[in-house]
């Protein structure tokens, strides 16, 4: 072989090869440095990222605990709910599947299509729920047609069941998906978007106990999100059950007693503070909120003048009206301004400066002493007393009974009401207190606002001779096996320092309200048990004396507070009927039925033969041996002009 090329590499060539080698080495060193950085320096971060790529956490929601009444009867529990999911990648003909699903489920194909479109961005292997909460029949129907429905999955998860329907709906509350706002809150730090949480009532306020501990599965997925295997699994723990102080039977009676009227009733065990009934009428169907709330139902709720979604027992603030006269009277006695025999002459009005304050009874009450003032709810008596007391002293006594501040009953957003003072007005409106306003406060009007819970606690405190128990709704927390985890025993939270003799006088007056002729609360009377109480009706707007029918939303609220038995009180109730006009005719019968239910439950009163029911509803206490007829004329009270 002969070489063609003539020129032999010179010294320069050799030298350049060394340079080139050096360059090559430098490049490789650069590669190696980069590898060192990625694999040694930054490896932890990148390893995390690779783990994030392949591992997914699939939460398994813990079944919620139940809510029980004081006797262990179920108020809220769980039931399996079936939903239909599709796995898009397994679907061959989408159009056809949508139409056959719509046909089998009797749904609008557009609705299914919409839900499908919403989940479009996700991995094709991920089940996409297109119809939730289908019935057992629908499910079985789908199962039968399974073969023609490839790519369709039926999923089961527990949802809330309400065996008593709308009963105690405000108290129990409803569930909903945790909102974005809530997710930002410390309280929901362990929640993920899409989780369900209590949105109101016990469900919300006792969420911590009810929720349980979610479990989950750590699964490995491939780049397309396909499930490969379960890496780790933690079981979920069922939430604990909340046993309420509520008595299911009394709760039923309370709600039924309202009929279609709006209002609230709270019944409380005087000696423990346990709330036996906590009704707000009308109720709503909490089950509607777990699934999708039909738009027409939602509209119906919102347009109803009786505001079915509002928890009136907890958040409703009403002027207490004449029920507040109890406070004014106590203040008067304690301050030494009146005694049982101090008297006032009621001509049917009271002239104060330029204004005339009317008594509810235009004819006037004539000679009025304390007992009669309470029994017949004479406004003039209390105008004069209030004038002498001044607003600040009245407020001081009201506060001794826990009015004007939330009671801490155990639900979120409890309202505190208003007990006005001169200082309060200065702060709130920046104006001076007018002494005329004191007269309104004396009969529970003007700025005074109270909640049904507060009124129940107030009358219970009177019954108790000043001992204040914490009103509470939850008796204990029990675990799955019924073992108590936490007890909420009665708790004395205060004592209204009032002389026993004062209470004795007041109680006599309240007994007279229900049991004596001309008493305004006769309709709450029971023949077997001595009931004491006080009626009230509070103005919504200043438009009395208008002739003819007053429009619903301008009618007065009717109130009634009561306790029984007189000598050894056990139960206290407060009833408010919104726009019910007269406490004696609208609220007192409801209180009466509640008290009757309580004593029937105790066996003190024999349950009536069903025949007697209708009569009972109309006429207060049938066959009562008391000398007086049930209040002939509905008793109304207040008036301020």
């Amino acid at each position: 072989m002969k070489a063609h090329s003539g020129i032999i590499p010179d010294g320069d060539g050799s030298r350049r090869i060394i340079w080139i080698s050096f360059g090559a080495f430098a490049m490789f060193f650069l590669l190696l440095s980069r590898l060192w950085y990625l694999q040694v320096v930054d490896t932890e971060n990148l390893l995390d990222q690779s783990e994030n790529n392949r591992l997914r956490f699939v939460p398994v929601a813990a079944p919620r605990g139940a809510i029980l009444d004081r006797n262990g009867k179920v108020l809220v529990s769980n039931t399996p709910s079936f939903s239909v999911a599709v796995i898009p990648k397994d679907v061959k003909d989408r159009e056809q599947l949508v139409s056959s699903l719509a046909r089998l489920l009797k749904l609008d194909p557009k609705e299914i299509q919409d839900k499908w479109n919403k989940g479009q961005g996700r991995a094709k292997y991920y089940p996409l729920v297109v119809a939730s909460n289908i019935s057992r029949d629908q499910m079985e129907f789908l199962e039968e047609n399974r073969l023609s429905l490839s790519g369709v999955n039926i999923e089961m998860k527990p949802v809330r069941a309400y065996p008593n329907g709308e009963l105690a709906s405000h108290l129990l509350g409803y569930l909903g998906e945790v909102s974005e706002e809530e997710l930002g809150n410390e309280r929901y730090k362990d929640y993920n978007a899409g989780d369900y949480t209590g949105k109101s009532g016990i469900e919300k306020s006792w969420e911590n106990f009810l929720h349980g501990t979610d479990g989950g599965r750590q699964i490995e997925v491939d780049a397309r999100g396909r499930f490969l295997r379960t890496v780790e699994e933690t079981a979920s723990t069922v939430g604990n059950s909340v046993m309420l102080t509520i008595d299911l039977d009394m709760q039923k009676v309370a709600e039924q007693a309202f009929g279609d009227k709006a209002g609230a009733a709270v019944a409380m065990d005087v000696n423990t503070g346990e709330v036996l009934a906590f009704a707000s009428n009308p109720g709503f169907d909490p089950a509607l909120f777990t699934g999708r709330l039909p738009a027409d139902k939602w509209k119906e709720y919102l347009e109803d003048k009786r505001h079915p979604l509002e928890n009136k027992a907890l958040k409703g603030m009403y002027p207490p009206g004449s029920t507040f006269k109890i406070i004014t009277a106590i203040a008067g006695i304690e301050e030494g301004l009146i005694d049982a025999h101090s008297s006032v002459d009621c001509p049917g009005y009271y002239k104060f400066g330029n204004a005339t304050f009317k008594c509810w009874d235009k004819k006037g009450h004539g000679h009025v002493e304390l007992r009669k003032a309470l029994r017949e709810s004479c406004d003039v008596y209390f105008y004069k007393l209030a004038e002498r007391l001044g607003v600040n002293r009245i407020a001081a006594y009201a506060k001794k009974f826990g009015l004007g501040a939330p009671m801490g009953i155990g639900l979120d957003n409890e309202k505190g009401g208003v007990i006005p003072t001169e200082e309060w007005k200065k702060k709130r409106f920046g104006t001076k207190w007018f002494s005329g306003e004191t007269l309104s406060v004396g009969i529970g009007q003007g700025y005074v606002l109270t909640t049904p819970v507060q009124l129940a606690s107030m009358i219970a405190t009177v019954a108790n001779d000043g001992v204040i128990y914490q009103p509470h709704l939850v008796k204990r927390i029990v675990d799955l096996d019924g073992k108590p985890i936490k007890e909420f025993p009665p708790q004395q939270v205060g004592r209204a320092a009032i002389k026993p003799s004062t209470f004795k006088l007041i109680k006599e007056g309240l007994f007279a309200v229900v049991n004596e002729p001309h008493g305004t609360g006769g309709m709450a009377r029971l023949s077997e048990v001595k009931v004491a109480g006080k009626t009230g009706s509070s103005q919504v707007v200043k438009m009395r004396d208008s002739k003819g029918e007053v429009p619903y939303q301008f009618r007065d609220h009717a109130l009634f507070v009561a306790f029984a038995p007189l000598e050894k009180p056990e139960i206290a109730v407060a009833v408010i009927v919104e726009h019910g006009e007269h406490g004696g005719s609208a609220a007192a019968p409801i209180a009466g039925r509640l008290l009757r239910a309580y004593f029937e439950g105790k066996g003190v009163i024999k349950k009536p033969v069903p025949k007697q029911e209708p009569k009972d509803e109309k006429g207060g206490a049938p066959g009562s041996g008391t000398p007086t007829a049930p209040a002939a004329a509905p008793a109304a009270d207040t008036d301020t002009e």
């Binding site: 020129i7 060539g13 490896t43």
Partner: protein
């Protein structure tokens, strides 16, 4: 014709080195493709077939005295250039690029042999070109024209990776021949407006996008930035000792793109870690040094130039591929020689090794 000396002087070290790297490559392809659905012959087996075919080709190449190539260099250059023109005229388009032509019963991708042909052409040109104290700008005129024609044609296909590789190979050979500083400076000054104009007019949108993504992969982590991000995650998560053979989650669960071809090294880095990478880099560096050593020991200028060219070809493939895998360079479809799956790459690389062996074993023949 067959000389006993050829057998005694056969460069067993080079062949062994190549087979060692190929062996690692096959093992890695086995792991990288284990998650694929089985269709026909598995990739690692096909890679073995290609390796066998490649070695036969390599031995064929080294059986012909390389000096004969000197005579054919320009003819081959002309032929491949015509094929490159034909590609643009009657080529087969796949995935937005026209790189193949049908020649009856088989298809060829002429840009690939151009890598070898440019080496031969430059070697032929400079072997008889007297150079005194480096090439001047005038001296560079012909060689740059020889490079420019195929490079532009390849760029037009568009195949930026190959165009860059061909240029880098030729450029390295020019540096070996020696270029005057003044000429280098002038070229560098000319390069800046060229790059600007190239960016503006010559680059395709997908090529620009790759460069953008390289500069900031987080712009579109699920889309075009995906390759870079996932590859970096794979490499880095391997750590010092790797996740173990067949245990790379990024590859086994297919978060990596093109994991048996262009991103094969990413799989290897994840499963064998920094230590494995160090071994591979050492082997490759050894291969390059060995090639340059052959160039240095060769007694004739043509052989020397050829050896430098082939070494440069292998070197730039390695650097660009690894640089891409570890996020140093933008994503360009350049395979890792002997390591990435693929017949084309295997054939080109083996022909290159054949040339090196050829030169190596004939260094004493005069």
């Amino acid at each position: 014709m067959f000389d006993r000396r050829l057998f005694t002087n056969f460069d067993w070290t080079l062949l062994a080195l190549v087979l060692l790297i190929t062996g690692f490559g096959v093992i890695n392809i086995y792991s990288a493709s284990s998650s694929y659905r089985e269709i026909g012959t598995p990739y690692f087996l096909k890679q073995i077939y290609w390796t066998v075919a490649g070695i036969m080709l390599c031995l064929t190449v080294c059986s012909i005295d390389y000096h004969m190539l000197e005579d054919f260099a320009y003819w081959l250059y002309g032929a491949v250039l015509i094929l490159l023109v034909l590609v643009l005229v009657i080529g087969k388009t796949s995935m937005g690029a026209t790189r193949w032509i049908h020649l009856g019963f088989f298809t060829v991708q002429p840009s690939e042999p151009m890598k070898i042909v440019i080496i031969m052409t430059f070697a032929r040109f400079f072997s008889r070109y007297p150079v005194f104290q480096g090439l001047t700008l005038k001296d560079l005129l012909y060689p740059l024209a020889l490079l420019g024609a195929p490079a532009l044609l390849i760029m037009k296909q568009p195949d930026l990776g190959t165009a860059i590789l061909v240029s880098l190979i030729a450029g390295t050979m020019l540096l070996f021949v020696g270029v005057r500083w003044s000429a280098l400076a002038t070229l560098a000054a000319a390069a800046i407006p060229t790059i600007f104009l190239g960016w503006r007019f010559a680059l395709h949108d997908y090529q620009k996008k790759r460069i953008y993504n390289f500069l900031n992969p987080d712009l579109d982590p699920q889309g075009s930035g995906y390759h870079i991000i996932q590859s970096k995650i794979a490499v880095g998560s391997g750590g010092t000792f790797g996740k173990g053979f067949m245990h790379g989650t990024q590859s086994q669960l297919r978060f990596l793109p093109e994991q048996h071809t262009d991103f094969a090294f990413s799989v290897f880095a994840e499963e064998w870690g920094f230590v494995g990478c160090l071994v591979m880099l050492t082997l490759y560096l050894f291969l390059i040094f060995w090639g340059l050593g052959i160039a240095k020991r060769c007694n004739d200028r043509f052989g020397s130039l050829m050896a430098v060219g082939v070494s440069a070809m292998l070197f730039w493939h390695i650097v660009i591929n690894m640089g891409m895998v570890i996020g140093l360079f933008p994503v360009v479809g350049v395979p890792l020689p002997f390591f990435s799956y693929g017949g084309t790459s295997m054939v080109t690389s083996m022909v290159g090794v054949g040339i090196l062996l050829n030169i190596s074993m004939r260094r004493f023949m005069f």
